[in-house]
């Protein structure tokens, strides 16, 4: 048994253990009962009756790790919930050096409360930190948020008092936090390590005390094929960092902090061990029109419908272990978004957010011949279920190729390899051989995706065909910014699509590749039902058939010039709208927004009314706009050796709107609570491995 850690099991496992140990006792072998562990009355009962053998005997308990499926497991958990005396599955406990007792780690619980209005989400995340030790600690927690989250508010609750944090330039915030920490003040710091990875530090938590941190953000939901999708990420997938890269995200074993030498590091628990903290989640949806269906492919949920177009969704408490992203999908009446235009007037200007739908009568436009390039991630993190799903999707794409198409296959792990020297015609024989090559792919090694992207974009183009690059990956890589920059630089007339495979994929990378590649994203592997993957594949392939509308631009009737993002509007694909957010510096909102572009080479226009009644108001829009501008500026940083020149502008926008960014951070200091002594022991809150990802092939151990 690893020193200081135990894995507690369920009642069934305990019964098995009792039987095994009873058997081993009968055979004359002893079992060790660790001191001061709360194992529940069932096991205490066994111990009291000497069923574990004499003191000093060693006990092994089998753990039961919840997975993404299993109503049967939910039923078991429901039965267990009535037995409060039983230990929870896989709970991690720790011991400070020299301490006698083991205790749960500092992060007790995360509570998520969200409010969705049409397609704008306002979310509050409360993290409850508690010091169970006999000395002061600093808690550090690296955690995910949606990659497009505009993190706008930060509260630190110390006892009965609540302090609102201030957003400052990152270096300054860090300096203030470290000085407050050194002087013994209770303080907290929130920094952005990636647009979808944040680090929370809480200093000088005294023994037995609790400090709550509340973070608030806004973002817009995705909408595709008539379905809205709300995602709350729960764990960060372990990243691969190319050799020599020190600005990556290190994935190390719990207790091996510092071993990756990366600037950002996440400690992972070896399954079946999971962290002691759990998540509660409640989302209230005001969809603007009746919700026809609602479901979560990732978790068990409880649904209430207080009104026809208002729904409250809660995470089932029995499915609360944060080891995979929470995904909620719902469909509303009508094919289009109820109100395509959101507006808001603020002191800093007038803002709008616009959903541009493809015209319905254009789905059947014939597609030009394509040069399809499939890029399959076969790195170690894809081992198991992820690569099986990815191979299935790639095979489905190959089978849908038309005789006029050509294809090229690239596989990458520690290096990149290709099926053929160059693209091949999509004949039956070529496709059959390609299917066999894909089927034989296995996962292992690093994630040198840059080589694969260069291989996909750099070879000479066939002028008779439209090149489409489809990348199938979990995105577990530390140099994600470099990859997005590479697509920005090398795209040319091609299009790049990203297909995320896994339960906690790197959406920042996938969405970034699609945005830089003027393509779209799809996700698979979240559902317990593989037929959902096939439906997602069908929709994905319809999109990559051809863009419905190209060369989009916006014109406003009334209201003046707008600063809109993305500044280069992506092509419009079947079933998937494009989102644009804009700001007008002076005065009035436009009366009409016109989207102009080309369909089949011919000019086309879509007009959206901005009359009251045709729009809805949301005060999140200034932050959503600022976040979109920052995302575009990030892309310039990634794409250019001179990208650092836009860093001051990112900082200015983030500070003006009070947002966390790569160059700004939240700091809060309670100058009335000064503790004695130095800042105490730093405790990192470990992360759970994402469900379906193998620890052995992705995490660096000492």
């Amino acid at each position: 048994m690893r020193k200081g850690f135990v894995v507690a099991g369920c009642a069934f496992a305990a019964a098995v253990a009792c039987a095994l140990t009873l058997g081993s006792c009968m055979k004359g072998r002893g079992v060790l009962v660790p001191e001061a562990l709360h194992w529940g009355s069932a096991i205490d009962g066994c111990a009291d009756r000497g069923l574990f053998g004499p003191p000093g005997a060693e006990v092994w308990i089998l753990s039961q790790t919840p997975g993404p499926d299993a109503p049967a497991r939910a039923a078991t958990r429901a039965a267990e919930a009535d037995r409060a005396d039983l230990p929870r599955g896989g709970e991690l406990r720790a011991r400070l050096p020299g301490a006698a007792e083991t205790v749960v780690l500092p992060l007790k619980h995360t509570d998520v409360k969200g409010q969705v209005t049409i397609y704008v989400a306002s979310v509050r995340v409360r993290q409850e930190y508690h010091n169970p030790y006999s000395e002061k600690i600093e808690a550090i927690y690296v955690f995910p948020l949606p990659h497009d989250a505009a993190v706008r508010d930060f509260l630190m609750k110390v006892g009965e008092r609540t302090i609102r944090g201030i957003v400052r330039e990152r270096e300054e915030a860090q300096r203030l936090y470290l000085e407050a920490r050194r002087q013994g003040y209770v303080a907290s710091l929130l920094t952005e390590e990636r647009p979808n990875i944040f680090a929370q530090s809480v200093a000088n938590i005294e023994p037995g005390r609790s400090i709550d941190i509340e973070i608030a953000y806004f973002h817009t939901l995705t909408f595709s094929e008539g379905v809205y999708e709300f995602v709350f990420p729960m764990t960060v997938g372990p990243r691969y960092n190319p050799a020599g890269d020190r600005d990556g995200v290190g994935a190390v074993a719990y207790g091996a902090r510092g071993s990756s030498r990366q600037r950002t590091e996440i400690e992972y628990l070896r399954p079946p061990t999971v962290g002691s903290h759990d998540v509660s989640l409640e989302i209230e949806i005001d969809a603007g029109s009746p919700i026809r269906s609602i479901e979560s492919p990732s978790h068990e949920i409880l649904i209430e419908r207080p009104e026809e177009d208002r729904t409250v969704v809660r995470l089932n408490p029995l499915d609360s272990i944060p080891n995979r992203d929470f995904v909620l999908r719902y469909r509303v009446d009508g094919r289009d978004i109820a109100a395509a235009l959101a507006v808001h007037k603020a002191e800093s200007g007038s803002y709008f957010a616009l959903a541009v739908h493809p015209p319905l009568d254009l789905d059947e436009i014939p597609a030009p011949p394509r040069e399809m390039v499939f890029v399959l991630d076969s790195s170690g993190s894809m081992d198991g279920e992820p690569i099986a799903r990815a191979k299935g999707v790639v095979a489905g794409c190959l089978e849908r190729l038309r005789p006029a198409d050509s294809f090229h296959l690239i596989r990458f792990a520690s290096d990149a390899s290709t099926f053929s020297a160059g693209p091949l015609p999509a004949t039956r024989e070529n496709v059959r051989e390609a299917l066999a090559w894909v089927e034989n792919a296995s996962a292992g090694g690093g994630t040198e995706m840059l080589k694969a992207i260069r291989a996909a974009l750099d070879f000479p183009r066939d002028p008779r065909r439209f090149r489409v690059v489809a990348i199938f990956t979990d995105g577990y890589i530390g140099n994600d910014r470099e990859l997005i920059g590479e697509v920005e630089r090398s795209l040319g007339p091609a299009r790049v699509f990203a297909f995320g495979v896994g339960t906690s994929v790197n959406r920042f990378l996938l969405e970034g590749l699609a945005r830089a590649g003027r393509g779209a994203v799809a996700y698979a592997g979240l559902s317990r039902d593989r037929s959902e993957d096939l439906r997602e594949l069908e929709a994905f392939f319809r999109r990559i058939e051809h863009p419905v509308m190209t060369d989009l631009r916006i014109e406003l009737e009334g209201g003046g010039e707008a600063e809109a993002y993305p500044s280069r509007i992506p092509d419009l694909f079947a079933g998937r709208p494009v989102w644009v957010v804009g700001r007008l510096e002076k005065g009035a909102l436009p009366s009409t927004v016109r989207i102009l572009g080309r369909v089949g080479g011919e000019p086309r226009e879509i007009a959206i009314s901005a009359r009251p009644g045709a729009t809805f108001d949301h005060d999140a829009l200034p932050c959503v706009w600022a976040r979109a501008k920052i995302a575009e500026l990030y892309a310039r940083v990634f794409a250019s050796a001179h990208g650092f020149e836009v860093e001051p502008e990112i900082k200015r926008v983030a500070l003006e709107h009070g947002l966390v960014s790569a160059y700004t951070a939240f700091v809060a200091v309670d100058s009335l609570t000064r503790t004695a002594g130095d800042h105490g022991t730093t405790i990192s809150v470990p992360a759970n491995m994402p469900a379906g990802v193998r620890y052995e092939t992705t995490v660096c151990e000492r």
Partner: protein
């Protein structure tokens, strides 16, 4: 007199606090200032105040000006939650705090509506000034009120 104060008169509070009271080391000291609004007989349903701070001879030097590192709520239940601050104003070297209440009976008289936590250069005299931008009664009508800053009691 109240009218003069309500029309945006500046109150200068000498805020030189000794190192003993706040504790300091390493060039930065931390302390708190309370923000009081006196609405007299009127019910205070909303307020907005502007606060700026400067220390002697250091404001021109990068990184050594006084900084606000936290904003806390006040004493009446109606203003217990931390007020919001204007991030754009903060870039101009001042902080604008605002809060409102929908309580049936907003508080009256003199009350502590907020507390600001400061990080200041050690060994400097820091001057804070405050201005009442607006105070309002239920219904939104403007009312006359006075605002002042005072150091909070020392760290525990």
């Amino acid at each position: 007199m109240r009218k003069m104060l309500a029309r945006g008169a500046l109150l200068f509070v000498l805020a030189a606090v000794s190192a003993r009271e706040t504790g300091s080391a390493g060039g930065i000291r931390f302390r708190a200032l309370d923000v009081f609004v006196d609405a007299g007989a009127e019910a205070l349903a909303a307020y907005q105040v502007e606060i700026s701070a400067e220390s002697d001879g250091h404001e021109a030097m990068s990184g050594t000006e006084p900084k606000i590192v936290g904003v806390e709520g006040g004493e009446p239940e109606a203003y217990a939650s931390p007020p919001y601050y204007d991030p754009a104003a903060l870039q101009g070297g001042r902080i604008v705090l605002a809060a409102f209440t929908t309580a049936d009976a907003p508080p009256r008289g003199r009350m502590r509506v907020a507390r600001i936590h400061m990080a200041e250069p050690e060994g400097t005299e820091v001057r804070c000034s405050t201005r009442l931008v607006v105070a309002a009664a239920p219904g939104g009508s403007r009312i006359e009120a006075a605002v002042e800053l005072a150091p909070t009691g020392g760290a525990r």
